[in-house]
């Protein structure tokens, strides 16, 4: 599905990614964990076309999409739920979801997607007419995920869906992510600081540290890894 090879990204003089490679297979949930400033967000932004690459390849369904503009990458079936959610606060919930389907013309299909999103997040259905800026943080996260689903993606990237959300709701949202992966067959690349949960729902994981992948393995194995345990899972 997605394979990135030797990806390098600079912000001016700062090197954020020093050449990372990772792969997400069809139907898989893969997670990328790491501390603050490790370069997780940068990785996702580079894949979805928001950042210029210094070098490296982004192969999506066999095609190199490096340096393609973000709005064209969406057309290929990739959807990115950005860090901080970035819902359109000035638009209603319904309008946000409609914008998620911006590139689609099939009214019927769009309605089906909308129904699906409402079935996954019934709260959004109740709040359709509400301006997104007045939603709670958790509701905004649901909306951000729902909006990303509206384009009927084949590949979904999520940047810290747990950020600033109460633990109970985080659990629900992670369950929904698994549900989406299972029901819709959408491949997922999940970026998280909450390594515990992320490794629980994913099959494979990568550990990023200051712009380098320092470890990668089956998620189950990573959870047993002493280095991961001490650094990311809170305790040895």
């Amino acid at each position: 599905m997605l394979e990135i090879k030797n990806l390098k990204v600079n912000y001016g003089a700062i090197t954020a990614l020093q050449g990372i490679s990772l792969e997400v297979k069809q139907g898989d949930i893969v997670t990328l964990i790491g501390a603050n400033g490790a370069g997780k967000t940068t990785t996702l932004r580079a894949i979805s076309g928001l950042l210029k690459l210094q070098s490296g390849e982004v192969l999506y369904q066999g095609r190199n999409i490096a340096n393609m503009p973000a709005h064209q990458i969406v057309k290929l079936g990739m959807s990115h739920v950005p860090e901080g959610r970035m819902v359109f606060a000035n638009l209603t919930v319904l309008e946000n979801l409609q914008m998620g389907a911006y590139l689609r013309k099939d009214k019927k299909g769009i309605q089906q997607e909308m129904d699906y999103v409402f079935s996954v997040f019934p709260r959004l259905k109740e709040r359709q007419k509400q301006v997104a800026g007045t939603l709670s943080g958790g509701e905004q996260q649901m909306l951000a995920i729902g909006r990303a689903l509206m384009s009927k993606p084949k590949f979904l990237m999520l940047d810290e869906p747990s950020l600033g959300i109460a633990p109970l709701l985080v659990k629900t949202i992670f369950e929904k992510i698994v549900e989406i992966n299972k029901q819709q067959g959408i491949s997922i690349l999940l970026v998280e600081q909450n390594a515990n949960l992320a490794l629980e729902i994913s099959r494979y994981g990568y550990v990023l540290e200051t712009g380098r992948i320092i470890l990668q393995d089956q998620s189950a194995a990573l959870r047993q890894n002493p280095q991961v345990k001490s650094a990311y899972l809170g305790g040895g």
Partner: protein, 297 residues
């Protein structure tokens, strides 16, 4: 009382023109966060486009007048799109100050080009619509040109509101305005939306130019400067970036200006009008309808 109503009508019709121009400033600010100083010259080009088109079209007829209006709006829409494409887009990633200076340059270019092509001397703008004066029961008088301002302005404002609120491209405009990055992540091509915004705003300025010229029928290449400045102030007054705010600001400014003009302080019209505006902004720094946007984290 009649005099008051009369002044109100005069003020509203002047204000409606300011409103039409102000919308362009505010919409462009909404998507690009900068003031397009060349906008007032697009207004001028609108008036001249109307002047030249009208030479080939029967005068003083409703259909002819509307045709001239539509033609000028189309020409200015294209002009606005071209200005953005050639002058502003290459500077998109630069500091806003660079773009602002470029906008002033484009403004001067249009004024000079106007003087070169249209001549520096004022031209008499023809009567596009049938000339009539309507007198109402209580002695209230309204010219057909004033009527044209009201009708055209209302139709355009309602259409604009419809486009921005109800259509896909309008929703995309609001989305880009709030967060261009998020907009591109749902597949919106920001460039297309920005072009559309420039086209729309410039078309409205053209309509404003024609309506202005109908009521003040002497046009010259520098005619845009003062109304443009006032419309810009109107946009700030209403809350820059806020579409209904620009309309409200324009109307208010037109009314204030007309009433001061009709009083014994008429020599100081602009000074007083601006003083009132500064006062309003002191109490509402974000403008009448502007609000500070809150984003939850």
């Amino acid at each position: 009382m009649t005099e008051f109503l009369q002044q109100l009508i005069n003020g509203l019709s002047l204000g409606a023109i300011y409103a039409l121009i102000a919308l362009g400033y505010t919409m462009v600010y909404g998507v690009l966060r900068f003031i397009n100083f060349a906008h007032s010259d697009v207004f001028m080009v609108g008036a001249f486009a109307g002047y030249y088109i009208s030479k080939r079209i029967p005068r003083e007829s409703l259909g002819g007048g509307l045709l001239v209006l539509a033609g000028a709006m189309l020409i200015c829409a294209i002009l606005g799109i071209v200005i953005e494409r050639l002058a502003y887009r290459p500077l998109r990633s630069r500091s806003k100050l660079n773009v602002l200076i470029t906008a002033i340059g484009v403004s001067l270019l249009l004024e000079n080009a106007g003087q070169f092509f249209f001549g520096a001397n004022p031209k008499v703008f023809p009567a596009l619509f049938p000339v009539k004066t309507f007198t109402f029961g209580n002695g209230l008088v309204m010219s057909s040109n004033q009527m044209a301002v009201f009708i055209v302005a209302i139709i355009l404002l309602v259409s604009l509101q419809f486009i921005v609120r109800k259509t896909k491209i309008g929703t995309a405009m609001r989305a880009v305005s709030f967060n261009p990055t998020a907009a591109s992540l749902v597949g919106i091509n920001n460039d297309v939306v920005i072009s559309f915004t420039f086209g729309l705003g410039s078309a409205l300025a053209a309509a404003g130019g024609i309506l202005y010229a109908l009521n003040y029928p002497s046009i010259d290449p520098l005619m845009g400067i003062l109304p443009g400045l006032k419309a810009f102030v109107a946009a700030v007054l209403g809350g820059i970036g806020n579409i209904p705010g620009a309309a409200l600001g324009g109307l208010l400014l037109g009314i204030i200006e007309t009433f001061v003009n009709g009083s014994r302080f008429s020599t100081y019209t602009d000074a007083i009008a601006f003083a009132i505006l500064i006062l309003i902004l002191l109490f509402r720094p974000a403008g009448l309808l502007g609000k500070l946007q809150v984003e939850k984290v």
